[in-house]
């Protein structure tokens, strides 16, 4: 079980309101990702759920029980920190066993659970090392191991992959997703990387300045962004947002076209412009074009195309894939 409900949760630091009253439901077994720009309150929200920060008003419910005044240790939540927060003077074995030891479990039982967790996480060979003698990815796995031995109601992750290099991050992303599929425990995951959010989440919560902009499945958010903020945040490269005559022509204050929803041609098209930079990734090419009447946009072409700085190109947006937004930024 691991159902978490936030009811009008509010957090004020000094005189800054970091989280204005916020409601959110996290269902049992769900993988929920909080995503948003730096400083938008993702970590704060996670720490409020964990109980590491006091809630200014409102309440948190875990499995139907009001947990607002329950101390962190009693909430049956396990947290994986960005810095891993391993205990440097204890071996990997002792690190993983620490929560069991604190719970007063028998030594044999502790050992059994530690061995089991270590074999799931490929840590068996490293059990007697100190955290300082491990690589970043291994430390990350120890931190996860320390969380899973507790068999918590839910896991909380605060940007667990941000200290790893790109290749390792890709691997760990898969490992955590697989772990979720085997354990089927609720996971709440904080990141500012929208690729992590898109690939891992069952449900994404997009935060902006402490407010929830939209909640939904990754493809939901991709296909139907509720407002300009979500439209600009989800998707890579970013959606092109165009104002002015082109938008007015479609009865909107702003229109949005994703780079992948434009056809690139050297002969004819709706919009004409000059290529600035073409980024060749091999599988795709991202072309940054300065359109004559519309302004700068990015377009995606699959495969390799031989375009370079200064070339004239034509772009045609797919009419079915144009997003329209009103003056307040909401989707029409």
């Amino acid at each position: 079980m691991g159902r978490i409900v936030l009811d009008k949760v509010k957090k004020i630091f000094g005189d800054i309101t970091v989280i204005p009253p916020l409601d959110l439901e996290i269902n049992d077994g769900e993988f929920v990702v909080f995503v948003g720009p730096s400083g938008c309150g993702k970590s704060t929200l996670l720490r409020l759920i964990a109980g590491l920060e006091d809630i200014t008003s409102g309440h948190v419910e875990i499995d139907g029980v009001n947990a607002t005044d329950v101390p962190p240790a009693k909430r049956r939540l396990a947290m994986v920190f960005q810095s891993y927060a391993l205990y440097p003077h204890m071996s990997v074995r002792k690190n993983i066993a620490f929560p069991l030891r604190m719970a007063g479990l028998e030594k044999a039982e502790q050992d059994r659970k530690v061995e089991a967790a270590a074999s799931v996480l490929n840590l068996t060979d490293y059990l007697d090392r100190r955290p300082g003698q491990l690589s970043g990815g291994q430390r990350q796995r120890v931190a996860i191991g320390r969380a899973i031995v507790r068999e918590p109601a839910a896991f909380l992750f605060d940007e667990p992959l941000s200290n790893l290099d790109a290749a390792l991050r890709g691997n760990m992303r898969l490992e955590i997703t697989e772990l979720h599929q085997t354990l089927k425990t609720t996971m709440v995951y904080v990141t500012h990387d929208q690729v992590e959010a898109m690939t891992m989440a069952d449900k994404i919560v997009v935060l902006n300045e402490g407010r929830i902009e939209q909640v939904g499945s990754p493809l939901d958010l991709y296909r139907h962004p509720a407002n300009l903020f979500v439209a600009g945040f989800i998707g890579s490269p970013r959606m092109n947002l165009i104002e002015g005559a082109e938008a007015t022509r479609r009865d909107a204050a702003t229109i949005g076209v994703r780079p992948e929803h434009m056809t690139l041609s050297t002969e004819a098209g709706d919009w004409t412009g000059t290529v600035g930079v073409a980024e060749h990734l091999g599988s795709d090419t991202f072309v940054h074009v300065q359109l004559d009447d519309v302004g700068p946009v990015t377009a995606r072409a699959s495969g390799e195309i031989s375009l370079g700085h200064g070339d004239r190109v034509h772009l045609t947006p797919d009419p079915a894939q144009i997003y329209r937004f009103d003056a307040a930024g909401s989707a029409l």
Binding site: S83, Y87, P88, M90
Partner: protein
């Protein structure tokens, strides 16, 4: 500083400082060694020639040697115990966010800037005086007989005075160490179900262990040499004669320079053993 030329120029320019420091250290050291092998009684015949290791054997076989070693150990150990325990507690306290933190920290450090002679005299006359001292008034207030601190509880009194002087040093070093503790580790332990005392025992204390070792070793070197505090309070009587004080008495009160010098050489060897440990630990700290 890479070329051979610039390196030799650097050496040349550092030479005066190095030579001065070496002279400062070597002259007294050589003189101590020199006198320790001589029978030298300034008021009773002066230089009476070489005596080999005679002074060394006489120093350790004298009846006051072992008691003075014991006194030294008690004083050093007592001060270390008090400063480390209170230092850890004070450091944790000062690490908490509170109003007026800056001023409180300066106040805590203040005793370190008071000269040993002055602080010992203040303690002796203002606190521990059996007639006019504050402690005597306190005792009388509760209807008790004032304690004659410096004669009845002489060693304890000296430990108290010296600990008061060294507490700021211990607190300062331990405070910087506590501030370098990653707060996420404490939060992780809290979520893992560790109550405050367990968090202290399993996370904070191991984190402090290196700082504590350094405090212990540095203080030991200085505490082995405390002198002024004893000189102005008990003058070495009532069982407060430490090794350092014994050397002083041999040289100045018994006017036996040779015997005192031999004691001095023992003290140098002892201090160097502690310093060796200190350097190895500090070195390890820099590697880690």
């Amino acid at each position: 500083m890479a070329t051979r030329h610039s390196r030799s120029a650097a050496r040349l320019m550092m030479a005066p400082a190095v030579i001065l420091l070496l002279g400062w250290m070597l002259v007294p050291l050589t003189m101590t060694l020199f006198f320790s092998f001589k029978k030298y009684l300034p008021l009773r015949g002066g230089d009476l020639g070489w005596v080999g290791f005679d002074n060394y054997t006489r120093f350790v076989t004298s009846s006051s040697f072992w008691p003075s070693v014991l006194t030294t150990l008690i004083i050093v150990g007592g001060v270390l115990l008090i400063t480390v325990v209170l230092g850890v507690l004070l450091a944790i306290l000062l690490d908490q966010p509170m109003w007026g933190q800056g001023i409180v920290r300066i106040l805590v450090i203040a005793p370190f800037f008071v000269m040993p002679t002055v602080s010992a005299l203040v303690w002796k006359n203002m606190f521990m005086d059996p007639v006019n001292g504050l402690l005597a008034h306190l005792w009388k207030f509760f209807g008790a007989q004032p304690v004659e601190w410096l004669s009845d509880a002489s060693i304890f009194s000296i430990v108290l005075i010296v600990a008061w002087q060294w507490l700021p040093f211990a607190t300062l070093i331990l405070l910087t160490s506590i501030q370098s503790l990653d707060s996420e580790q404490l939060e992780a332990a809290e979520m893992d179900g560790a109550p405050p005392l367990a968090r202290f025992g399993f996370i904070t204390l191991p984190h402090l262990s290196r700082a504590i070792t350094i405090v212990v070793l540095i203080q030991t070197i200085f505490l082995l040499a405390i002198f002024a505090e004893i000189f102005v309070t008990t003058g070495g009587s009532f069982g407060t004669r430490t090794l350092t004080y014994l050397i002083f008495q041999r040289v100045l009160e018994s006017q036996n320079v040779g015997l005192g010098s031999a004691g001095g050489v023992y003290a140098i060897i002892l201090a160097n053993i502690v310093a060796l440990f200190l350097m190895r630990i500090v070195g390890k700290n820099l590697d880690a």
